[in-house]
């Protein structure tokens, strides 16, 4: 039954993904002109000779003279059949090779932030709710509000600034200058670790704040429920009761938050890595967007959207597993 459900959901994803890819293609085509026109203008302003044959060559190669829908079909066909995402004009490399260089770091940072978000938010939410109005609770409520009202870029700026004042070191980038071009080694990893932790913490903080609030509210709600009193009336120990009933009930819906936490983290990663100029997709895509390097920008958008869709699917499946009330295919009540 579970397998059937997963298969059904996967089939439903196909039209959604097609629609997503079309929408993304339209968005990246929105700016007037294309990369070639920008490129020509750049060459002209710098006083260089524009090589007409090269232009014609590039136009042909990418079908830029064809109608839009043909360009789209061509792009999609190459992605599906050859994993060829197109070419980045700006970097003069295939998008795939750029993705290979930078996407793993982006995804690992996002996923690690997800882990950190949960690892902090769920225990803190539980303690806040079970010790409502305690000092701990007030502290984290305050923290929650600050975390939610401080934009990620500001948090990145502020923490870099404060660390600079304290240690005299500028913690931008993933490695200090000495290690940037060095091959991966233990020393490089040690050098990277504090920076990595800083980045993950900054990205996770706003999502964590939101999640603590939702976990706390959810658990407070569950603690009032009749079944908690029933269990207490049975003589179950308070701690066991807490874990078996209300906490489990409050954690269940958190599972389904991957669908909105993940996109938030991906967006946060993009902003924070742009501010801290990390060697991840963030700064690359920002430049690609401003310079109309459409295949690079489009491919990134496509990949993170697919990741989001898969994340939502996974959380739906997890929720169906942990909550027996959800019949595969819909909520029964």
């Amino acid at each position: 039954m579970l397998l059937n459900y997963i298969l059904k959901r996967l089939l439903q994803l196909i039209p959604l993904l097609i629609a997503v890819s079309i929408l993304i293609f339209i968005i990246i085509q929105l700016p007037p002109g294309d990369y070639l026109t920008t490129y020509i203008i750049q060459l002209e302003t710098s006083g260089l000779e524009v090589n007409q044959s090269e232009i014609i060559n590039l136009t042909k190669q990418y079908g830029l003279d064809k109608p839009m829908y043909q360009q789209y079909l061509y792009w999609m066909k190459n992605i599906i059949t050859k994993l060829d995402f197109g070419r980045s004009f700006q970097w003069n490399q295939t998008v795939l090779s750029l993705l290979q260089q930078r996407l793993p770091a982006t995804i690992s940072i996002s996923l690690l932030s997800l882990v950190v978000t949960w690892a902090i938010a769920i225990p803190v939410g539980i303690v806040s709710a079970t010790h409502q109005y305690s000092g701990f609770d007030y502290f984290f409520q305050f923290f929650g509000f600050i975390g939610m009202s401080c934009p990620a870029f500001l948090l990145a700026l502020a923490s870099v600034f404060i660390l600079f004042k304290l240690t005299g070191q500028s913690l931008t980038g993933l490695n200090s200058a000495a290690f940037v071009n060095a091959p991966m080694s233990w020393a490089k990893f040690v050098d990277m670790l504090p920076r990595l932790l800083l980045v993950i913490f900054i990205i996770a903080i706003s999502q964590t704040a939101g999640m603590i609030r939702s976990m706390r509210a959810m658990l407070l709600d569950e603690l009032q429920k009749q079944y908690v009193i029933t269990a207490r009336a049975k003589g179950v120990k308070e701690k066991k009761l807490l874990w078996k009933y209300p906490i489990r009930m409050a954690i269940n819906p958190q599972v389904s938050t991957i669908g909105w936490v993940l996109p938030g983290l991906i967006g946060g990663e993009m902003i924070v890595s742009t501010v801290l100029s990390l060697p991840t997709m963030g700064p690359l895509v920002k430049r690609a967007l401003t310079n109309q390097d459409m295949y690079l920008a489009g491919s990134y958008l496509l990949i993170v959207s697919v990741l989001t869709v898969i994340g939502t699917l996974i959380s739906d499946i997890l929720l169906a597993i942990v909550d027996p009330r959800i019949k595969f295919g819909g909520v029964s009540e």
Partner: protein, 385 residues
């Protein structure tokens, strides 16, 4: 008998007044509940003051946002004194500034001179058009008291939060930026309400094909991460576009992505209300569709709409400042809190001129206030809980 009746009436009166909780109107209950949220009760006046000041920013700011004090670049915030060096009370004043070059590092900075510049309220300053009109006025809420006949922009200067690298008063720019940033979120939320209510309402009320289309559209938008999508759409705005146009288009972009939440709430509420007994009763009494919607359904989910809308304001402010900071949204010379923060993108600039980070404080305070207000409204929306 009549005596007894009187007595019972009197008793009913006392019952009513003692259990007023049970007979108070919904809005009264909401207000009571909202009043209990202390943070929200502080946040609302703070927001009102912020909006008022930013709305009349030319009056409240001592200088104009684009006015350059060429001799005072990168000056630190001026200290306000009340007593002079000899301990005599003078009233609020600042010392004049003298340029000082460090003999070893050649770094330029400013030191206080002996010159006393008095500060005052409702002082004469640079001329501005009232609310952008042609009506000129030169009175500012506070600033330096210029000696008779002296033009503003000279050496009688006072910078509450310092100046930037072009010699512009940061505080004045923050107020002016607040006008953009604080109004931006309202414009964007207005677009969101229009789109979200219409589509959510149609989807919930009509059902059928319309519902399916709107639901699929929501799925589609929700599956693309918001921030990259904002950035992509913002980057698509041509750089030649006028600032006003850009301002409205940016807020439209925000709401194009943000309407889904409101549409979902509206649809869900409409669907559940459609089945409620009081709505069915109203329909059976022969009320028209319009009457059912506006008289019976709207009041019962209005509070949820307000909560949902208020809840989306902080995200909009954060989004706008983030995009502007990254140079993808509103761009200089438009002043917004995000564009102001562009000046401190590197550690070096932050270390040299930390006062350029002041706009951040305003972002945090305003978002915090909207969060508190949203929280209070959320509590109030369900007064019977």
């Amino acid at each position: 008998m009549s005596d007894k009746k009187k007595k019972s009436n009197a008793n009913i009166d006392t019952v009513d007044s003692s259990s007023s909780y049970e007979v108070a109107s919904q809005y009264k209950l909401m207000w009571w509940k909202f009043k209990k949220h202390k943070a929200a009760m502080i946040a609302v006046p703070v927001l009102i003051i912020m909006y008022l000041i930013c709305m009349c920013c030319e009056f409240f700011a001592p200088a104009l946002p684009l006015e350059r004090y060429k001799d005072y670049k990168d000056t630190a915030p001026t200290r306000i004194h009340l007593w002079d060096d000899d301990g005599n009370f003078v009233g609020p004043f600042v010392y004049g500034l003298e340029r000082y070059t460090d003999p070893y590092t050649f770094r330029k900075s400013y030191v206080e001179s002996d010159q006393i510049i008095k500060l005052g309220f409702f002082v004469r300053g640079s001329e501005y058009g009232v609310f952008g009109s042609n009506l000129k006025w030169d009175v500012h809420f506070f600033g330096v008291k210029l000696p008779e006949g002296e033009e503003p922009g000279g050496h009688n200067v006072f910078f509450l939060m310092g100046t930037d690298s072009l010699g512009r008063d940061v505080f004045s720019r923050i107020l002016s930026g607040g006008r953009i940033s604080l109004s931006f979120c309202l414009v964007s939320v207005a677009f969101t309400v229009i789109i979200g209510l219409t589509l959510g309402g149609l989807s919930g009320y009509l059902g059928g094909v319309v519902d399916t289309i709107v639901q699929r559209a929501i799925d589609l938008i929700m599956s693309i991460p918001g921030i990259p999508m904002w950035m992509a759409l913002a980057a698509a705005l041509p750089s030649t576009m006028s600032n006003l146009k850009k301002y409205f288009l940016m807020s439209l972009i925000m709401s194009l992505i943000g309407w889904t939440g409101l549409a979902r709430v509206t649809r869900g509420k409409l669907l559940s209300l459609r089945e409620e007994d009081f709505v069915i009763a109203a329909r059976m009494c022969g009320s028209s569709h319009m009457r059912v919607i506006f008289k019976h359904m709207l009041p019962s989910f209005l509070s949820y709409i307000i909560v949902s809308v208020t809840g989306s304001i902080p995200g909009t402010i954060l989004g706008e400042t983030t995009l502007s900071f990254l140079g993808l949204g509103l761009q200089a010379p438009t002043v917004s809190w995000g564009t102001l923060l562009q000046d401190c993108q590197t550690v070096d600039s932050m270390a040299a001129t930390p006062w350029l980070m002041f706009p951040a404080l305003f972002i945090i305070v305003s978002v915090l206030c909207f969060c508190f207000m949203g929280d209070g409204l959320r509590d109030a929306a369900d007064p019977y809980k």
